[in-house]
Assembly symmetry: D2
Homo-oligomer: 304 residues x 4
C-alpha cells in the first residue's frame, strides 16, 4: 500500500489546525520550539518509507522514551518488572501523586512518570551511565548512529523536576526505588531529552509491528507474546489520561510525548510517527492526534 | 478455521481451575448458581459455530447488558451520549462514588454502573417499558425468540441495590438523570437479569465483528466507525478495573459480567463468549479470563 | 455582665456588612428570605437576656438541628452512638460522599449531613413520628410551646435532597442505616425545617453552659462529662469545613446552619445566638461569623 | 491549687497501661527508647511546679517543635504566614501527600509535616542556622541554658525522611518553598531532634497560659489575640488525625510528638506536659493521652 498520498491529504487537511494548542512551557528549553512544525512518517511491513513535512527533523522525544526504557527493563528483568509497576490505566493526570500514595508507591503503569522512574531505576542498577545505554540501544534500531540527547534540555528539565522528585522520594519511602533519587532523576531527564525524527522513531518501533523482532537485523528485541503485550499497554495507557479517548478516535497502540511526538503501531502493517509541537490540554499533540485519527479513517486500518 | 479443537483443549487444560474463585454473592439469587459450569462458544466470520461444555445453558448476563444498552442509547442519541458519559477508564472499582462526585456526576464510561444508569435513563425517556425494548432488540440478534429476563434475579438485585441508588441520586443531584431514580433502577436491574447462553451472546455480538452490520439480516446496527469505537471502548473499559491487565493478557475487546460471562470480539474474525460463574477479585470470571487468554495464544489471533 | 452595649456596638459596626454574601438558594423556600436580617441574643449564666435586632424573629434552624438530634440520640443510645458515627473533623465539604465511601459508610462526625442522618435513624427506630419528638424536646428548653417545623420548607428541601439520598443509600449499602431511606430523609428534612428565634435557640442551649443541666427546671439533659464533650465536638466540627478557622477567629464551640443562624456557647458564662441569612462560601452566616468574632474580642471571653 | 496529689493518683492508676502501645520505630534512633518511661509536669498560673515520675528526663520533642517554629514564623511574618499555610484540620494522616496535591501545595495547617516545613522555610530565609535560632529561642523560655538538639537523632531522621522530601519537593513545585529542599529538611529534622523534659516544655508554654506574655521576664512572645489563636489551632489540629477525639476526651489545646510527649495548655490556669514513649496508632502517646484525660476529669478544669 502506498501511504504517501494519504499523508499528503492529511497534511493538506490539517493546515488550518497546525500551530493551534500550546507548546509545553514547563521545560523552558522546550518552550522555544516553533508550534508550526508538522511531520509524519510511515514505515510499512515491507520496509517502505512514506513521509510528509518535517519527518526528518529531530525533536525531543520526551515521554516516548518511556516505551524504550520499559523495553530495556523487560529485557533485564522480565516479568519481575510487574512486581514494581502495574499495567492499569491511571484514571488521573500523568504526574499525580495521589494514586501513588494510595497504592503504596507502586505506579499504575510504566507510561506515567513514576512508572518510568521505576524502569529508569532498573537501568541505573545495571548500567553505570544508563542514558548512554538507552542511546546505544536506539541507534541501530533507528538507523541514526549519531543520535544523542540534548544536554541543555536535560538540564532545563532537571532544574524544574520538583514534582518528579516528589514522586521519586515517595517511592523511595515505600521501598520501590533502589538507587539514589538524584541519580535516577538525572538519568530520567536525559532519556526524555533524546532527540529523534519521525522517520527514526517509526524505524525504531518496527519490532512491535513484527512480533518483537526487528526486521533490519532480525534481532529479537522481545518475545512475540511480550511485544503484543507492550502494544496492549500502549493502547490502554500510552497517551496520558486521554488513552480511552485516543483508542476511541484513533484505534492504534501509541505512545506520546510533550515534545509533540506520537508514535503508533498497527501490528502486522506499519509503524507511524507524527510530530507537531502544539499540545491539547491532555498533553498530546493536537495536530498529531487529529492526523492519526484521519490516517486510520482514510486507510481503514485500525486494530478495531 | 476450525476453532473446536482449540476449545476442547482449553476445556481440558482448565479443568483443575473451574470452580476456583467465588460466585458473586451480593445478589442472593445469583449466589445459588453452581461454580462448576464452564461453556464457550465461537461464531466465526463465516457464520460457523464452535462450542464446548455448557455453551447452550442460559445464565444471567449482568453487566454484559451494559454493552447492549449503550448500543441502543447510541442508536437513539448518537454522539450526544458523550455529553453525559465519558470514554475513559475509571482507574477505580466499578461501583465507586468517589470519581463520580469529583467529576460532577459524569461517569467515566458507559461500562461502569453509573454510566449504564445514564444509558438506561436514555432508554427510560424513549420507552415506556425499557426492559422490554432491550429484550426485543436482543431476540433477533441472538436467535432466541423466547429470551427474557429473570424476575426473581431482578427483584433480588433491586432489593440490594443501595449503592446503585446512591450513584443514581448523586447523578440526579448533578442534573445528569432525567427520569425518576426508582424507575431507572427498576429498568437497570431488569437489564442485568436478562438470561442468555454463550451461543446467543456470541451471535448477538456479530455486528461488532462485521463493522456494525449484523450478517444474519444485513441490518445496520451501528455505522462502521461507531462499531469500531465500541470495540475500542470495550478494550479500555470493558472488564472493570482490570481492563489494562485483561488487554495485556487476552488482547481482545470484551465485556464481562458478575454472572461469570465474558463476551469478546476479534474484528473481522470472530465473536467469542465464555461462561464460568466463579470470579476473580476484580469481578471477572476466573476460568473465563484464563480461557480467553489461552484462546488468543493458541489461535495466534489477537488485535495486537 | 451587661452584654447589651456590646451587642449594640456590634450591630452598629456590622451595618455595612449585613446583606453581603449569598442566601442559600438550593432550597427554593429558603431563597425567599431577605438577606438583610440581623439579630443576636445572649442568655447569661444568671439567666439575664440581652438582645439586639431581629432576635425574636423565627428562622429556619437547618443544621443547628443536628445539635439537638445528636443530644436526643445520646439520651437514647449513650456511647453506642460512636459505633456508628465518628468524632473527627471531616476536612472536606459537609456534603461530600468521598470520605463516606472511603471510610465504609461511617460518617466522620454527627454534624455533617450523613452523621445527622445516622442520629435521625436512631430517632426513627425509637419514635413513630421523630420530628414531633424533636419539637417536643425543644419546646420546654426554648420556652416556646407553639414551636413547629415549616412544612413548605421541609417539602421544598425533600424534593431537592438527592445528595442526601445518595449518602443515605450509601450508608444503607454499608449497613449503617436501620430504617427505610425515605423515612429517614423525611424526618431529617423536617428537623432542618424547624423554626426558632435567636432568643429561643440561646435558651435551648443553656444546658451546655451549665454542665448538662437546664437551669429552668433543673432537668439533667445530659451528664456533665457528655455536655462538655458536645462542646468539644461543636468546636472541632460544628461549622462545616471552616471549623478550624472559626475556632481561630471566634474561639467558641458553635453550630451553624444554612438558614443563617449560629448558636455558640461559652461554658460557665453564656449562650449566644446570632442570625443573618447571607452566607460565606463555607455555608456559615457571613455577618454572624463576624459578629461572634467581635463579641469574643470585645468581651475578652473565649475558651482560649 | 495543689496538682501534685492528682498527678500521683494518675501515675498510680496508669501503671498497668504504661508501656502498652508501640514506640515510634521509623526513626531508628528513637526506637531505642524504653517504652516504660512516664513523667508529668504542671506549671500553674502562680508559677508553682508539680511533677511526678520522669518529669525531669529529657526526651526527643519531635512534632512539639512545630508549635515553636510556628510561633517564631509568626513573630517574623505575622499574618502573612496564613498566605502559605491554612488553619483547618486535615482529616487525613499527618504525612499525607494527597491533600497537599489536591490543594495546590498549601498545607492544611502548621502542625502537619508540610505546614511545619513551610514555617521552617520561613526561618531558613531569616536565619543562617535556623536550628540554632530555635534552640536560642527555647533556652530562656524553658529555663535550661544548655538545651540542644540530638545530632544522632537528627541524622537518623534525615536519612529516612523520603516522605518529607516528597512533600517538600511537591511544595517547591507549587512555588510554596523559597529555600533549597535539602536545607529546609536539614533544619526540620534538627528541630524535631531537640531534647527537653516535661518540666522544661511546661515552662516554655507558659506564655500561652498568660495571653502571650512569658511570666518569667514579662517578655511579650506574641500578642494576646494571637496567643489565643494558637491555642485554638492546637485544639483543632494539634494531635494529628485524632484532634477531634482528643478534644472530646481531654478538652485542652495540645501539641503531641512521636517521641511520646504531649504539651497542653489550660488558658489562665496551667501548662501541663506528659511523656510516655509508647504510642497509639494515631501517633499520640497512649499513656500520655489517658493521663491528660484523667487530669481534666479529676481537676474538673477543661476549656469546655
Amino acid at each position: 500500500m502506498d501511504y504517501t498520498p494519504v499523508l499528503q491529504q492529511i497534511e493538506h487537511e490539517l493546515k488550518p489546525v497546525i500551530g493551534q494548542g500550546r507548546v509545553a512551557s514547563y521545560i523552558p528549553e522546550l518552550a522555544k520550539v516553533s508550534p508550526h512544525h508538522f511531520g509524519m512518517a510511515v514505515v510499512a511491513i515491507d520496509g517502505s518509507l512514506h513521509t510528509v513535512g518535517d519527518a526528518h527533523v529531530p525533536f525531543s522525544i520526551q515521554s516516548i522514551s518511556k516505551l524504550f526504557t520499559l523495553v530495556m527493563a523487560l529485557q533485564l528483568e522480565g516479568e519481575r518488572v510487574w512486581d514494581r509497576v502495574g499495567r492499569e490505566p491511571s484514571g488521573t493526570p500523568f504526574n499525580s501523586l495521589i494514586q501513588l500514595e494510595a497504592e503504596s508507591g507502586k505506579p499504575r503503569n510504566p507510561f506515567i512518570n513514576p512508572g518510568a522512574l521505576v524502569c529508569t531505576d532498573i537501568l541505573c542498577t545495571r548500567y553505570a551511565v544508563p542514558e548512554n545505554a538507552v542511546v546505544e540501544f536506539l541507534r541501530p534500531l533507528s538507523g541514526n548512529k549519531a543520535m544523542h540527547y540534548n544536554r541543555a534540555v536535560a538540564a532545563s528539565e532537571r532544574r524544574t523536576s520538583h514534582r518528579n522528585a516528589a514522586m521519586a522520594h515517595l517511592m523511595k519511602a515505600f521501598g520501590n526505588l533502589a538507587n539514589d533519587v538524584d541519580e535516577v532523576l538525572d538519568a530520567y531527564c536525559r532519556h526524555c531529552a533524546i532527540e529523534m525524527s519521525c522517520v527514526e522513531l517509526a524505524h525504531a518501533a518496527r519490532f512491535l509491528v513484527h512480533g518483537g523482532t526487528h526486521p533490519g537485523d532480525h534481532a529479537a528485541i522481545l518475545g512475540t507474546s511480550l511485544a503484543k503485550r507492550i502494544n496492549a499497554l500502549m493502547l490502554t495507557c500510552g497517551t496520558y489520561d486521554a488513552a480511552g479517548d485516543f483508542a476511541f478516535r484513533v484505534g492504534l497502540p501509541a505512545k506520546s510525548g510533550v515534545g509533540g511526538g506520537i508514535l503508533a503501531v498497527m501490528p502486522g502493517q506499519y509503524a507511524v510517527c507524527v510530530w507537531s509541537p502544539a499540545l491539547e490540554p491532555s498533553g498530546n499533540s493536537l495536530a498529531g492526534s487529529l492526523a492519526l485519527e484521519r490516517f486510520t479513517t482514510l486507510t481503514g486500518q485500525s486494530i478495531f
